[in-house]
């Protein structure tokens, strides 16, 4: 047995004992999160799954009814419509928010003082509750007593919440107004992590600002884009409070997303079975989207982007 063998053996043993220490602590560190996850996510999920095979009006007894709820939900023409609206909200709000957030985040990543001030100002919408934002916009856009009528600006006196296309556009606008600051913050952090040496090298090679943005900043932000997009896409499945207060799903059912459809069936129409079936569909769609986005980001998320840097 040579000295080197001994040394390597002892380091290996040291590493093993250290790992055993971690093994002892780690599960306990995860415990609080696990308790909350099981208590507030996993158990209700099982409950909802079971409820989707029953008939219940929320007041009387719960009666098992097999596939009745699923049959009524899946044959209802309202379901494809809600799915379509949900999907449109997801795609359009992603397409609006992502470019604006990246540009704003890149801009705010600079260390100039005025940008620091601006980033605080931009953050304000995120501090307001969705219900408050919805009520404020509703009052501002009232066709008879709102901003347009008050200031005499004809363009603003539209029937904002009364026409399907306008109401949909308004939902996208308010959602973006509320969440762009959050995603800009994520991108700001992402941009600040890019090594300065990359930009210095590019400058030496004569690359301008636009070229630097497209060949360095954007590719380096790949994983930030995936994180932010996952949050946006999965988050848009649960848009409820804002739409509920702003349009109540109207006019007609023009902005009735899946989450709203679930609430209306469950708590307004007293159909807990079909509402639970929609909840299960929501979970499945969310799960599928999250997995898909992870796939898009490549199999190994910890793979280095800095090779050759």
């Amino acid at each position: 047995m040579s000295m080197t063998e001994l040394a390597s053996d002892s380091t290996a043993r040291g590493a093993r004992t250290r790992r055993r220490d971690h093994d002892g602590i780690l599960p306990w560190l995860a415990a609080p999160a696990l308790v909350f996850f099981v208590g507030f996510a996993a158990i209700p999920l099982v409950g909802v799954f079971v409820l989707s095979f029953t008939t219940w009006d929320g007041i009387g007894a719960i009666v098992p009814s097999g596939l009745d709820s699923w049959r009524s939900v899946l044959t209802d023409p309202g379901l494809p419509h809600s799915l379509l609206v949900t999907f449109l909200v997801m795609v359009v709000s992603w397409a609006v928010q992502t470019p604006s957030s990246i540009l704003l985040g890149t801009f705010l990543a600079g260390y100039q003082r005025y940008r620091a001030v601006l980033s605080v100002v931009y953050f304000v919408p995120l501090l307001l509750s969705s219900a408050a934002i919805a009520i404020a916009y509703k009052a501002l856009l009232d066709p008879n007593f709102g901003l347009g009528a008050g200031l005499g600006i004809g363009f603003l006196s539209q029937d904002w919440l009364g026409r399907p296309a306008l109401a949909f556009g308004l939902v996208i606008f308010v959602v973006s107004w509320q969440f762009i600051p959050f995603h800009a913050l994520i991108y700001q952090g992402g941009v600040r992590q890019i090594p300065r040496s990359l930009y210095e090298a590019a400058q030496l090679d004569g690359a301008g600002r636009v070229r630097q943005f497209f060949t360095i900043t954007l590719p380096q932000l790949k994983y930030t884009v995936i994180t932010s997009s996952t949050l946006m896409v999965v988050g848009s499945l649960t848009f409820f409070d804002l739409i509920f207060v702003l349009t109540a799903g109207g006019p007609g059912d023009a902005t009735r997303v899946l989450a709203l459809d679930m609430y209306k069936r469950g708590f307004q129409a007293n159909l807990m079975g079909p509402a639970s079936a929609i909840a299960v569909i929501l979970v499945l769609v969310g799960l599928a989207l999250a997995l898909l986005l992870r796939r898009l980001g490549g199999r190994d998320a910890s793979q280095s982007q800095l090779e050759g840097a």
Binding site: D57, I59, G60, G162, G250, G252, R265, A269, N270
Partner: protein
């Protein structure tokens, strides 16, 4: 062990403060003045007069209450006294065995039954048994109009549907919206259909829906009424952007008292709101009121009305015997006592009690109060609002389709087909 003591104490105190506890009865109702103060006042007077019986009130905002009370009853956490609108929602409580049958109590206390409007008991009755005490005020739906607007246009309020349709282009030409409407709230649109169905086909048309007859919505009178409403929408009869307006914000009523709209179909409770928010609009006598116009050749009686025949109090079957006794004592001695009657009248409401004409005539709003009393008293049929009369499931489908009908995104035939599908649910 020491650590677990405070925890169990905390749990125990949760138990006693929540509903279902044995120390006194609980009572949930709606907030918002002036009604909230009148309700709380009745409870306070009862508590003072009966030191051994305590009722603890809790108040909720209207839409939040509708969801909260359902959830609480379903979870076995209902208050002792359940405030509501009767009709289909009460029926769903009865079916689940959640409220007390009060039929024999009313038999023993016939004086209480006899002093209330008989028409108020229909929405409290399920399968021949009474499950709720009618209380508070009778609220018919009324056609309000702005007299100043009519003077400036040189027209008189329409007496028939033909006159309505003639008046619409005249008012629009002057830049005044014929009718104000808070269309996003949906039940506001529903009131139009309630009256048109009745005026065109009589009360039987909706009764057939209520009784669960097959294809009842396809009745020619129903199709005619649905078509007439869409004609009015197409003729710009309602204010521009009505789908963006909610009734909760009272913006629809503001349109009437600011003269931007000439008329508005709304509940009798709107009078008090216009009085408190419309400046001197009501006190200067500019607010006019009448029953819904007749439809030429229609079968319905023009004296018929719709609305809330009363509000309703039920007793939770899950309450303890002591709580039920307190609730019944409150029903007998506290509800609609002389003071409460006086306060409802002062707020512009007509209590659901017989023989208040003298009190009504002395009030500053005597004209309106007499008008409301006469409508309620003379109506051949006082129908309950559809969304309250039907089950919550059918009501949601109804309101949904009404919104689409007013959007012109479905035809009257599609409306009938969609609703025929949920008849009897």
């Amino acid at each position: 062990m020491a650590a677990s003591v405070p925890l169990s104490l905390a749990l125990a105190s949760c138990g006693t403060s929540g509903p279902g506890a044995s120390s006194g009865a609980t009572y949930w109702f709606l907030n918002g003045q002036p009604q909230e103060g009148i309700r709380t006042g009745a409870v306070d007077r009862f508590n003072q007069a009966n030191p051994n019986e305590k009722i603890t009130p809790t108040t909720f905002q209207n839409d939040a209450y509708k969801t909260k009370i359902k959830t609480a009853i379903g979870a076995g956490q209902a208050p002792t006294i359940i405030w509501g609108w009767g009709g289909g929602t009460l029926r769903s409580y009865v079916k689940a065995g959640q409220v007390e049958d009060l039929t024999s109590w009313f038999d023993q206390n016939s004086k209480i039954k006899d002093r209330l409007f008989p028409s108020a008991f229909r929405a409290a009755t399920v399968d021949g048994k009474i499950y709720a005490l009618p209380c508070e005020t009778v609220q018919p739906i009324i056609m309000y109009y702005n007299k100043k607007v009519f003077d400036s246009v040189g027209a008189r309020p329409p007496q028939t549907w033909g006159e309505v349709m003639d008046l619409v282009p005249k008012l629009n030409a002057k830049g005044i919206a014929p009718f104000s409407l808070g269309g996003q709230s949906r039940w506001t649109n529903m009131m139009w259909l309630e009256f048109l169905f009745d005026r065109i086909g009589g009360p039987e048309v909706f009764q057939a829906v209520f009784d669960g007859q097959q294809d009842a919505w396809s009745n020619p009178a129903a199709i005619d009424a649905l078509t007439k409403v869409q004609d009015l929408v197409r003729a710009d009869g309602f204010i521009k952007g009505f789908s963006s307006i909610t009734a909760d914000s009272n913006a629809d009523q503001a349109l009437l008292y600011t003269g931007k709209a000439a008329m508005m179909l709304h509940g009798s409770w709107s009078y008090g709101i216009q009085q408190s928010q419309g400046g001197d609009f009501v006190s200067s006598g500019s607010l006019g009121f009448m029953n819904f116009p007749a439809v030429d050749g229609g079968k319905g009686d023009p004296s018929d009305t719709v609305g809330n025949p009363a509000q309703y109090l039920s007793i939770s079957s899950k309450a303890t015997d002591e709580q039920k006794k307190i609730a019944k004592d409150f029903f007998a001695k506290g509800v609609l006592d002389d003071e409460e009657i006086k306060q409802w009248i002062g707020s512009g409401g007509v209590p659901a009690v017989k023989g208040t004409q003298d009190l009504l005539a002395k009030d500053k709003n005597a004209d309106f109060l007499k008008f409301t009393y006469d409508i309620a008293n003379n109506a051949k049929v006082f129908a309950q609002s559809w969304d309250q009369a039907l089950s919550p499931t059918a009501a949601e489908t109804l309101l949904d389709n009404i919104a689409k009908l007013f959007q012109l995104s479905i035809t009257p035939q599609q409306f009938a087909t969609n609703l025929n599908a949920v008849i009897g649910q």
